[in-house]
Symmetry: C2
């Protein structure tokens, strides 16, 4: 390399820094893969929930960034020394907390490719393949879930403009549809100043907290966001009659019902709101219906679970998160809407620096106009690779295996008369508790179950979380972490029984190390 | 594996599907890495902007998902056949469009690890290491940018509650701070119903379109979002006097100035709004000031560019995107706020199923309360690994090298009297155009430059985008794609000159293949 035209020295001879040197790349990924393989081999033996104290990391890593490079070996050492001890091991087969965040080798490979290509598909032109693969894969998943054709972009015409988009979380899907519904309601109610304070959004007391937060973000008056009470008699689902009563009261008071969130598989107990009847009620008031199937949507790839989406043909939008239960790792939420124009209205932008022929022709979708941000990862790649690599049959087997493991766990709980299953199990979550013993008030039962949970989690050999349904403190056992096999479920049950023995003061005979 | 307790068959014998089989994982990542290495070796030779037509992918891939598994070889074949021809090659060294989306081997390795661990750090407890590394790395970057200590979580106390969070895009950072500012303004103005229609947000006509969109999402009346005009005499920066005039007029009309967005490095032309003086004006009206340094923030790791953030100590929040110019691949935006409590107020949630001891103790940060969603990737890992692997000195060298390449390109443009540099170059973006020739009106010059851009991009040998500043159609040449070296910049200039020759009808002598 010689001196350039204008006499300047070649830059590489000035510093020589190549952040994407191919030898470095191969070596670093190779070392990283060794680390990951080793991690997966050992993760079963790690305490699922770490025992570190708040602030622990500041004692292990320097407070200021290093001036000079560090060897990759030293970085991986620090991962072992400082990061792993503070990780909650979501990938552990003994992880039964929250809902699982599942992954797969195909998703890891797909996400690596997305990082390597690193296109920013805000407009079609800025990466046609990324935009078109996203539309295609969302149509594939819509087929899998047997969504009505009004949600497919391949069925879109001048009259119907359905389609899908990948968001990072359900919250973003809710927020974008709330904004669409809000602006539609404002248009028919006299405009912003006249109506913004009168718009109302509805969920149940089981709807995810992020719905209420999304309403706040979207500028709904917090006083106008309803949480309709549910009952154990209805399995904690949103009852259409109660919804109608709430909407009618608001309408009578001069308010404008604008949005209803129906949940298929609530976070507490996987309750299912009846989508069809709820949509009928909402239609009476002209309100938007969004179906949040974040967790249970994945199960609907199996025909036997599809019934829970019945009525979705009447909804305005539906979302679910393959990063939860469809093996795609974070983050990956699918949103379908019946009319994309209602989203691109409030969310569309057209700055000069992004103007281009295809966008102006109207023949393409610019996905930035269906989401909060402008930038976006090539998320469809991992989803496409998961579906291709495994095929529908394996995805169904994956769901069925988790559900079957949960069914067996439920059987174990039912076989021990100290415990009860609190709500019917529908998918792969079992909600159970120690029953109140003779003369015990509920508050005492809650305290005992809370203590049991603490003892289980402190053991490090399983991680389970809790909820409160029907005023009862309940343990949630969510089967589905990718590496979980039957033996882990069985071990967890042995652990739970042993801790119950300890808690209830039963003389404990030696238990084999599980 | 035998028959289980209750007589059920072991599940693995039922289907045997293991989505995270370690042999598959090693093999698939190995094949993927071969693909990626091959891609990087060849990417320089690919047309940067693909020539596919809208809908091209539907002709190449099946319309419905496959029932059965596909071999990984076949999937990689499809990547070659169907995806690569439709990719806009952001990783190409000949990519000079938009702003670069940079990456590095360390970021790829870090992101792979994040996918493999796949923790969902909504609360501290759900993954202490992910939460604590995020706080630490944001403090590191704050040190690097010499942000005042009020933005550091390590300096937080009962009185000051500064801190940072990683978002996926600048849009999310703007949205969250808009919601915080909105609710603060509502509190001091009589509450939601009384004031929501009176809140006003301010940017300039150069502020990114996503700001105006974020205002709409956050429920600001579109009629109350101001785009203050800029002038070429002030290098298209937001002038404090004009801002004051706009705010005063609104205040006099009974409106409530709530938020000002100051940009350091606008998208069109890398204009820099004067953060200090703007903050002074905003303070007169009690409005929040957010500093959007999405692109140019990365440059501020070099002391010689830090001046552009002067005054940030008076702002309420500041964000920049390492996924743009700091080698971390998508998506990764840093947001710092002076008082995290103003975010956790409107964005905080506390559902029963996430309640836990550390959160209740108040001794930890739950990052879900500083963002739109609940779920979140372990994004800090790649950022930490980039800083560790390269060290501050190399990050500075990386920025300086890009800026130097842009400076040299600017010199080339200036040396050709057919062209002019339209706005002063500050970072690594050069805005230039063919000057209007004798008697040509501006509209003709615009048309000529548009045609030149089309010819350059149609060649496939470089990708450049445009903007309009000061009513002029201008070509944007953004240096900084990770693989770009001096020779690519020189080749791009030769290409531009050649296309200008063709366009202007100069007799073309044979040009060596570049």
């Amino acid at each position: 390399m010689g001196i350039s035209q204008n006499g300047d020295l070649p830059l590489l001879s000035i510093h020589g820094f190549k952040p994407l040197d191919l030898d470095d790349l191969r070596e670093q990924v190779h070392q990283t893969m060794d680390f990951i393989m080793d991690y997966y081999k050992k993760v079963e033996s790690f305490p699922v929930l770490p025992s570190v104290q708040p602030g622990y990391l500041r004692h292990l890593l320097p407070a200021t960034p290093p001036a000079e490079p560090t060897t990759f070996d030293a970085i991986l050492c620090d991962l072992h020394r400082a990061i792993l001890p503070g990780l909650t091991h979501w990938a552990s087969p003994n992880f039964f907390a929250y809902f699982p965040a599942t992954l797969s080798s195909a998703a890891l490979a797909g996400d690596l490719l997305a990082s390597a290509f690193n296109p920013v598909a805000f407009t079609w032109l800025s990466s046609p393949a990324a935009t078109e693969l996203e539309s295609l894969v969302l149509d594939w998943l819509a087929h899998l879930l047997r969504l009505p054709s009004c949600f497919l972009s391949s069925s879109a015409s001048a009259a119907t403009r359905g389609g899908g988009v990948l968001h990072n979380t359900t919250s973003e899907a809710m927020l974008c549809t709330l904004v669409a519904a809000r602006d539609a309601a404002l248009r028919r109610s006299g405009g912003f100043a006249a109506a913004i304070s009168r718009l109302v959004a509805y969920g149940s007391d089981q709807t995810h907290s992020t719905f209420f937060k999304a309403c706040r973000i979207a500028g709904f008056d917090p006083a106008n966001v309803r949480s309709v009470p549910t009952r154990s008699e209805s399995d904690f689902s949103l009852e259409p009659a109660r919804l109608r009563a709430a909407m009618a009261a608001d309408a009578a008071a001069g308010l404008v019902p604008a949005y209803v969130c129906a949940t298929v598989g609530t976070t507490s107990s996987t309750a299912v709101d009846p989508v069809g009847p709820i949509s009928e009620v909402a239609a009476e008031f002209g309100a938007w219906v969004h179906v949040d199937a974040a967790y249970a949507g994945s199960a609907c790839v199996c025909p036997e679970f599809r019934q829970y989406l019945d009525g979705v043909e009447r909804a305005n939008s539906v979302s679910f998160s393959p990063h939860k239960w469809l093996l795609t790792c974070l983050d990956c939420t699918c949103l379908w809407v019946r009319d994309t124009r209602l989203l691109t209205g409030p969310l569309g932008t057209d700055p000069e620096y992004l103007k281009n022929g295809p966008s102006e022709s109207g023949s393409v979708v610019d996905l930035k106009d269906l989401q909060v941000g402008v930038g976006r990862r090539f998320r469809s790649l991992k989803l496409w690779m998961v579906i291709r690599t495994y095929g529908v049959a394996n995805l169904q087997a994956h769901i069925r295996s988790d559900v079957e493991m949960a069914r067996r766990f439920e059987g174990m709980v039912r076989s021990d008369r100290r415990f009860e299953v609190v709500v019917p199990r529908r998918f792969a979550l079992v909600c159970f508790r120690l029953m109140p013993r003779g003369g015990m008030v509920e508050a005492q039962a809650d305290k005992e179950n809370r203590r049991l949970l603490e003892m289980i989690n402190a053991s490090g050999r399983a991680y389970i979380t809790h909820t409160v349904v029907g005023r009862m403190y309940v343990l949630r056992f969510a089967v589905g972490s990718t590496l979980t096999e039957e033996r882990h479920v069985a071990s967890a049950w042995e652990l739970i029984k042993k801790k119950a023995d300890e808690l209830l003061g039963v003389e404990v005979s030696p238990v084999p190390n599980i």
